[in-house]
Symmetry: C2
């Protein structure tokens, strides 16, 4: 097993040198071919996917799980559309910012370059295989993908299609490889290839991410849980607050930028909370409140200590009445997941204190937490949302899959 | 021991929240007070330093080692001047780049924020204690410093001075702490505080850096060895090549951006190499050459396989004749340390191929490798040169000790 993984990493390293210097046209040609192949191979891919779906049903996985696994025509179409969008994004590789003239006479700039080899470890839907492959390739990286066991046949079929597209565009097939083993015992071998792999991106449950962090000698960019808060300040516009609350909690409760905790200033709690509770309950949201909340909202259950750090990913919301902005920020700091925090206020000074002092990958004023997304923030497609502070904090698009090197343009200069 | 370290990390975390939001004026006041205190406490610091120096002499450390350890008046003056320069650098914290209007109506920008808590692990001169403290503080971070055992008394004395300056400026003393233990057994406890520490920067020998990488759950930015190459192309201007060669190899051979290997195109080897060898030998440089080099330079010793990956940090140079630019780039890729690579050529296309294709934190054309330095490249003071690709690649100044968060300015927007 160790041998197979090391061999894959070596091949990825070698391929990464080729894709790193490949032109934009060649990379886009590979992506265009991938769209064609995904359409042409649709039946083959869906037949392989059916094996995974059948196995999942046999093992008694929930209907929701089976649904997430299924590569329906609609999912295949969305996958193809996703690849098309990546092809349209500007290529970050080789771009340079300002070039400055230094007192020594050298000119200094920074050039964007690929990271090299990326390992992506995920548990989710098989379409992640294609999304991640397209993003890594466009950013000039080679990628080793390790999906979940329940999507094994689907992922292997998709890998085959991706590799044929790469070869059709004159790029090395090993630039995208899927690990042909899905047991967790294989992971440490992958995570110790620190000479060959530059970055590991785990996406999935807390257990997987912890396992990867503890076993990796390679830098890890964590896509972790989001315990997002909305703080309704004493000077909040209540209409805006209500609209944002409903959007943040209810539009798509199962995603990481959905709201999990509502904090309300004590001076507006009695006017705002009953109103908010009515709307939330109308949308099927269960409330778990602090004692002051429960006194104002009769259907709220009492919250326990387990509620405040919880990422429900469901139609449940914890609610707390706070004394002040400082009280709200202390609560956020205590249960900080580094994801998304939003304040609703018309007060300039408190808005700016919140912006400056809250530590999260995205801090918002009078906007829904749901905006923490690569597309909405202007990055284009994203490979995940980093809650690590190093390298990237927040949504990671093409630029975040690259780094910069210094370039010195000289004319014979030596150091004095 | 574990308890002490965890307690320090907790205090650092708490202090980091205060320094993260401290204004530029308060941080600069602390740095100004530090300059004053270093001058006022000079005798106390030098008396403590004398204990380290005496112990080093007793243990029979080399004169060079004792010299590096000694806080002479000259070293103290340079240390104070260094802090003064950090105070003059622009504060990166709170700055924002372009703010864009998105189709949804939200305005999106990125704000620079401190990383949080940094652990710096080093073996070198005690003045690193003050340099690192000043840089981390100015960037709004708390820092835990762990110096070498041979500088224990010096580092504890310097920490005391730094902490009194912090308190004088109304900042928390725990923003800068020196670990009161220097045995390697203590390190793993520090390196597992991944909930409290955001970044580890090891500086020192290969053994230390490997130990830190293998034992850390916290992201590590490596300041690793530099095996820097100079490639003299067939179209090199020989005068520039010679001047740059001498500067890169001889100006300060003991530093990581000094030259270790010279690569010469076969068509200019017979005219350039004897000339270069004469100048190098005149400066006391020993040459270790490939067979073709040894045929042209009579005093060159034959190089062995151990020479090409070597960072000599001394007046020794390995020399190889290559067939082409590709041959040179293959050699560089094989022995790549990700530090600094330079080409000497007047040929436009080959210069640009070298810039695009060589993977190093700094790639240079017609300039000395010695320019890979925070001051020379325009970053101001540096905390080290990262040869890791994640987060920072190359010299790390104040900006590299920070990260960015997204800020969303809304007016009630919800996601469609």
């Amino acid at each position: 097993m160790e041998k197979i993984i090391q061999d894959m990493a070596l091949k990825a390293r070698k391929a990464s040198r080729k894709v790193a210097t490949a032109g934009t046209a060649a990379k886009n040609r590979a992506l265009a071919l991938l769209c064609e192949s995904l359409a042409a191979d649709r039946e083959m891919i869906q037949a392989e996917n059916q094996k995974d779906v059948d196995a999942a049903r046999e093992r008694g996985l929930s209907a929701a799980m089976v649904d997430r696994l299924t590569l329906s025509d609609k999912v295949m179409d969305a996958m193809i559309q996703g690849v098309r969008e990546v092809a349209l994004l500007p290529d970050p590789v080789g771009t340079m910012g300002e070039v400055r003239l230094r007192p020594s006479g050298i000119r200094v700039g920074k050039m964007r370059i690929p990271l090299g080899v990326i390992a992506m470890i995920y548990e989710s839907r098989p379409n992640v295989t294609v999304d991640a492959a397209a993003l890594c390739l466009k950013a000039g990286n080679a990628v080793i993908l390790r999906g979940g066991s329940e999507a094994f046949y689907s992922n292997m079929a998709l890998a085959k299609t991706v590799q044929s597209a790469l070869e059709g565009a004159g790029l090395p097939a090993h630039a995208v490889q899927v690990l042909p083993m899905t047991d967790r015992e294989a992971l440490p071998f992958l995570l110790q290839q620190e000479e060959l792999i530059d970055l590991v991106i785990p996406r999935g449950g807390e257990g997987l991410i912890r396992f990867v962090t503890e076993n990796s000698r390679i830098p890890v960019l964590k896509h972790y849980k989001g315990v997002c808060h909305l703080y309704v300040d004493v000077d909040a516009d209540k209409e805006k607050a209500l609209a944002i609350l409903m959007n943040a909690k209810c539009q798509r409760p199962g995603v990481c930028n959905a709201l999990e905790t509502l904090l309300v200033h004590e001076k507006v709690a009695d006017s705002f909370l009953p109103l908010a509770a009515e709307a939330l309950e109308g949308a099927g949201v269960l409330l778990r409140g602090c004692p002051r909340t429960c006194a104002l909202v009769k259907n709220a259950e009492p919250a326990t200590d387990a509620d405040w750090p919880s990422e429900y990913l469901d139609l449940i919301l914890s609610v707390k009445v706070v004394d002040s902005l400082d009280d709200a920020m202390d609560h956020i700091s205590l249960y900080n997941s580094g994801h998304t925090e939003s304040i609703i206020t018309e007060n300039w000074s408190r808005a700016w204190r919140f912006i400056r002092e809250v530590d999260a990958s995205a801090v918002m004023v009078n906007a829904s937490t749901r905006f923490n997304d690569g597309g909405e923030l202007g990055l284009g497609a994203e490979i995940g949302i980093s809650t690590s502070k190093l390298h990237a904090y927040g949504p990671m698009g093409l630029v975040e899959l690259t780094t910069e090197k210094f370039v010195v343009f000289g004319d014979g200069q030596v150091r004095a």
